[in-house]
Structure formats: C-alpha cells, structure tokens
C-alpha cells in the first residue's frame, strides 16, 4: 500500500516582527514540520507563543522572512499573491477562535463564502454542510441570532465548504464553554475525517488536545531564539 503523501511540508521557516523598540523579534523558527494527507495533529502551546503566526504562514496570509511552505506540493514562497490566494481558496479551510462570521450574511451565505473563491458556490452542498453540523434549521438565520457554539459550528461548515485538503483550526474552542468546546472539537475532527481532510489544530488547552493521536509541543518544534 502506498504511504500517504505529505499535504504540508515546512522547512527552515522563520518569521520576525518588529517590536516597539524597532528591533526584530523572532516569533517562528521552525526547522522542519510535515503533515500527511488526512492526518490529524494538534500543537500545544500557551497564548502568544507564535502558533497563530505559524498557521498564517502556512495559509499564505503572512510572508515568511525565510524558509519554505509546501502546501499540496506547491511552494507558497515562489507563488504570486494571487496564486497563493487561489491555493488557499481551493486547498485550505480555516477555523478561527473568534469564528469570524460575516454579520451581514446569513448562515447559508457565510458557508457559501467558504466556496465562493474556490470551487464556486453550491447552495445544496452549503445546506448539507449546515445540516451536518446540526444547523439545517438555521440556514436563513443571522450570526447574531445564534449562540457562540452554533456560530462556531457555522464556521466549521464554512471551513469545509471548499472541500479542503487541510483544515487549520486556531484555538477553535477558545471562546466556548466546556460542553460546547467538546462538541465542537468532536465535530471538527469527525467532519474532517469524513471529508478526508488533514487537520492541524493549535490550542493552549490540554483538555482539548486529549483526543488527538499526535500532540506536539509547539515549544519543542519552534526555536525562535536560535539563529540559523
């Protein structure tokens, strides 16, 4: 049987931000990181340690100072911004801690936006995804009419709308109570498994990481203080 190919390969990735003193402060220095197609992995680490920056670098939302991010076989650093947008629209799903639903759009429209810039809008699929996350009866509702747990479910449906090969989840349960957090986390994992998508989840909450086969400490991977 052919071993699964990597969906994500990170090599020598570095990113710094200028601080108030005007000096660059290294945030990410990741010598190597791989994620196989369909693999679910969690990264743990306290708030502010650079996990989100790593996800933004992987998504092509930030340009690295150095290093390489290969997503679905394509080196993002060699692509134009428009090509990176296209790769993101077709390959990635993103679940944010703050949900980031568009308040002026209904639940269905928010999910449609998840596919609008990639494969194109498919209302039936969007409705089916909302049905899958338990919100089939809330298609025309506005985000403000939903509980926080329900809003994050819509965000999960949106992240899966473009049939992504990789879903990035950034503290997806950070704004939820325990019960909702467990439900949403299970939902993310189940739906990603059903869709055959790889999942890279970052969280500072050990309880949320308990169900993952592979949990890595971001501190052990990331060595911002080391100059290479």
């Amino acid at each position: 049987m052919k071993p699964p190919s990597p969906i994500l390969e990170v090599t020598g990735l570095r990113k710094s931000f200028r601080g108030p003193d005007g000096q660059p402060h290294p945030v990410v220095n990741l010598p190597s990181f791989r994620l196989l197609a369909g693999e679910h992995r969690a990264l743990s680490g306290e708030s502010g340690c650079g996990k989100t920056t790593l996800l933004n670098l992987i998504a092509g939302l930030l340009r690295p100072d150095a290093g390489e991010v290969r997503l679905a076989g394509q080196d993002l650093s060699t692509l134009s911004e428009a090509r990176r947008d296209r790769v993101r629209a077709r390959t990635l799903g993103y679940v944010f801690q703050s949900f980031h639903l568009l308040p002026g759009h209904t639940c269905l429209e928010n999910v449609l936006l998840g596919m609008a810039f990639g494969p194109g809008e498919d209302r039936a699929r969007a409705a089916a995804l909302l049905e899958r996350v338990g919100l089939g009866h809330r298609l025309a509702h506005w985000p403000r009419q939903l509980s926080t747990g329900q809003q994050q479910r819509v965000a999960v449906a949106r992240a899966l709308a473009n049939r992504p090969q990789l879903v990035l989840a950034d503290e997806p349960t950070g704004n939820l109570d325990r019960v909702n957090a467990r439900e949403v986390l299970a939902l993310i994992r189940d739906t990603c498994r059903e869709a055959g998508a790889a999942l890279l989840l970052v969280s500072h909450d050990p309880e949320m990481l308990a169900g993952f086969d592979t949990v890595q400490s971001f501190h052990e991977l990331n060595r911002p203080e080391v100059r290479t």
Binding site: G50, T52, N56, L61, A89, L92, S98, L102, F117, G118
Partner: protein, 403 residues
C-alpha cells in the same frame, strides 16, 4: 454573484449612510438634469412661441419689452402707437398681415387683449389654425362686447360660454378698479400651449372704449403683430431700416426668435450659476461617498480580512468597494431621474401658469443618459480611496493574529 451579494449586504448593513449619501446624489442629479433640460426646453419653447408672427411694432423702447408684452403677454407696454401708424404699416411692401393689439386691462389678474378677428386667421406652416375655438363657441363680433377666452385662463377663472364678466382697469388686479362694461364669453380657445392660453381676447374697439379710458387715446393701440410675406425676406430689413434706423418714434422688434434668444443669453449667468451649484452638490455628495466608505473601512477591516482568508484576491476586495460606491451613486442617480421628473413637472406648471408656455417634462434629452452615467462614474471614482485602503488591508493583523 458573490460580489453583488457582498455589496448588497454591505449596503444593507450601512443602510443609514447609504440612504443619506444616495439622497445627496439624488439631489445633485435632479438639480443638474433639471437645470440643463429646463434651459434647453425653455429656450426652445419661448423661441417657438412667436404666435405665428415675425415681428412686433411698438412705441420706441426696448425690443425685448415689446416682445414680452405683445407676444408673451408679460411686462407692460412701452407706450402707445397711433392708429395711423398701424395703417401705414399695413401698406408697407412685404407685410402679409398686421394685427393690432391693445392692452391695459385685466379680469382677476388675467390680461385682456383687444384685437381684430384676423388674429384667429393665423395658421402654422402646415396650414393649421394656431388659435381655434372649442366646439360650441365662436369668434367674437368686433362690434359687440364679446370675448374669446384662452383655455388656461378659462380653466382658472371658471369661465364658460355664456358667462359674463366685467373687466378691471390696469394689468394688476385691483377689485376697486372695475369697469362698468360687461362682456359675454362667446368662445373658449383650444389649448395652444402658448401664452395665448392665458389671455381673454376681446374686440379692439371694446377695450379702447372702456369707461375710464382717456377718450383722446381711444384710437391708440399698444402694439402690432406683423407677419411678413414668405417670399419677401428683405421686408424685415426694410422695416428695421424704416422704424429703427431712420425713424425715432417707433421700434420694430424683429425677428422675434432672435429677441427671445437674446433674453436667454442675458439669463445665461443664472443658468451657469445653477449648473455650478448642481455640480458642487454632486462633488460634495461624492465626497460623502468617499468619507462614508473610508471611515467604514475601519470597522470592516475584519470582514475584508476574513474574505481574504477565505481566498478572495485583493482585487476582488477592491472591486467590491468600488462597486459599492458605484451602486450608491447609481441609486442616487436613479432616484435623481425621478427627482428631475418631479422638479421638471413643478417648473413646467409654474412656467405655464406664469407665461402660458408649456414644457414637457417627459421629453428625452441626451443629458438624461450621460448625466446619471457621469454621477455613477464620479461615485465609483470616489470609492477608489477606500477601496485602496481595503486593498492594502493586512489580513493577519486585521484578524487579530500577529503572534
């Protein structure tokens, strides 16, 4: 589809500022179109409203005053002519028809004009009579105290065939200045859409002999409308030479259209000021599109960043903002067309009631197409600055993730 939905939802989310901005653009569009079309239509309508005559002979004075008094039934007469002057004019070569007019009285503010029945013989180029009496009526008998009433005046005064009225002295209605004579309405004119609709036409002698008028001036007339032979284009020049250059007692206003054009040339500054005001309103409205959208960019940064995170290109975000600005402008321009129609209808009503000249608010003019298009373009251009701000949004920062 997605772009339109983004624009639609954003407009709905910012409904108040959308309505206010579109409202100011509506005002600008409506003003611009109305000023522009009113100028063109009014100039055309007034130039055409020559009652079928080529010139006016009157007392020495302003040609414009003469035309306004004799053709448009506005202003006062610059003075009187003697009956001999009229007779002499009719004997001039090239004069096809000369119709004397006497003014100086009114009925409840509507002007009485004494004339001869030959006025009603005037026809247009197609041979159709310009002033025709409605069925059930007839022309007045020049020997009797009878009147034919213009359609607008009849409607306003509530006069119908068989009614009687007593004229009032002067051109301004004064209830205390009523004449003793009674006139009978024998005919109502069909609407001609000319100043004639606002006049009560009575026999020349009837007006000249009203009690209270100076008996010494009973033979005097206010002006003579002159129609020249079509085959004698030099007649106008000859009369101009005779009355305006060689003589110093009378004025021959000819051609009427040119005198009216001079009037509009004199009013050109007003039209330019109004046009400038309309453009200023448009620019201010466009500036409000700019500031409204620009300021809203701060609160919309997160939404725009989410779109980028979902794979939207920078240019998609830019296009959405420009399209939104253009849509606001299009809404304003569309409503501006309706505002123009309302303003134009109002202006036409006022002009008709004041002068008898009828304007058509529904007349198509090229400005109805390029005017709103220019407003939409202006609005879209105003959207460029906020669109650029959206274009440059730092996605990671806007999503609140920098560490």
């Amino acid at each position: 589809m997605t772009l339109w939905r983004l624009v639609h939802r954003s407009l709905r989310q910012h409904a108040l500022s959308t309505v206010v901005t579109a409202g100011s653009l509506m005002l600008a569009t409506g003003l611009l179109l109305t000023v522009w079309i009113l100028r063109n239509q009014a100039a055309q309508a007034f130039t055409d409203a020559d009652a079928g005559f080529d010139g006016v002979l009157g007392a020495r004075g302003s040609k414009l005053q003469l035309v306004l008094n004799a053709v448009f039934h506005l202003e006062s007469s610059p003075g009187n002519l003697r009956w001999d002057d009229y007779v002499q004019l009719t004997n001039q070569p090239g004069v096809a028809l000369a119709v004397p007019l006497a003014v100086g009285d009114n009925y409840r503010g509507f002007r009485l004009v004494g004339t001869l029945p030959s006025l009603f013989e005037i026809s247009d180029e197609m041979g159709v009579a310009r002033l025709t009496v409605q069925p059930g009526g007839r022309h007045f008998d020049p020997e009797r105290r009878e009147a034919v009433v213009g359609s607008f005046a009849a409607r306003r005064l509530g006069l119908k065939v068989g009614d009687t009225f007593q004229p009032y002295h002067g051109l301004v209605f004064d209830p205390k200045a009523r004449h003793a004579e009674t006139f009978v309405v024998v005919g109502l004119l069909e609407p001609s859409n000319t100043p004639a609709d606002r006049v009560l036409w009575i026999p020349l002698a009837g007006l000249q002999n009203l009690t209270g008028h100076d008996p010494a001036a009973a033979q005097d007339i206010s002006a003579v409308l002159v129609r020249l032979d079509d085959g004698s284009p030099g007649a106008g020049f000859l009369l101009d030479l005779l009355y305006n250059r060689q003589g110093n007692r009378l004025t021959f206003a000819w051609p009427i259209a040119q005198v009216v054009t001079e009037l509009f040339d004199r009013l050109g500054w007003l039209e330019r000021v109004l046009t400038l005001v309309a453009w200023l309103v448009a620019v201010v409205a466009a500036a409000s599109v700019l500031t409204g959208l620009y300021n809203s960019m701060n609160e919309r940064r997160r939404d725009l960043a989410v779109l980028r995170a979902l794979g939207a290109h920078r240019r998609t975000v830019l296009a959405a903002v420009v399209l939104e600005a253009g849509t606001i402008a299009a809404l304003g321009a569309g409503a501006g067309l309706l505002a123009h129609l309302a303003l134009m209808t109002l202006a036409a009503m006022i002009i008709q009631s004041q002068t008898g000249v009828v304007l058509d608010p529904w007349t198509l003019d090229p400005v109805l197409f390029w005017g709103p298009a220019l407003i939409v373009l202006l609005g879209a251009l105003a959207g460029l600055a906020p669109a650029w701000k959206a274009y440059r949004t730092d996605v990671a920062e806007a999503l609140g993730h920098t560490a």
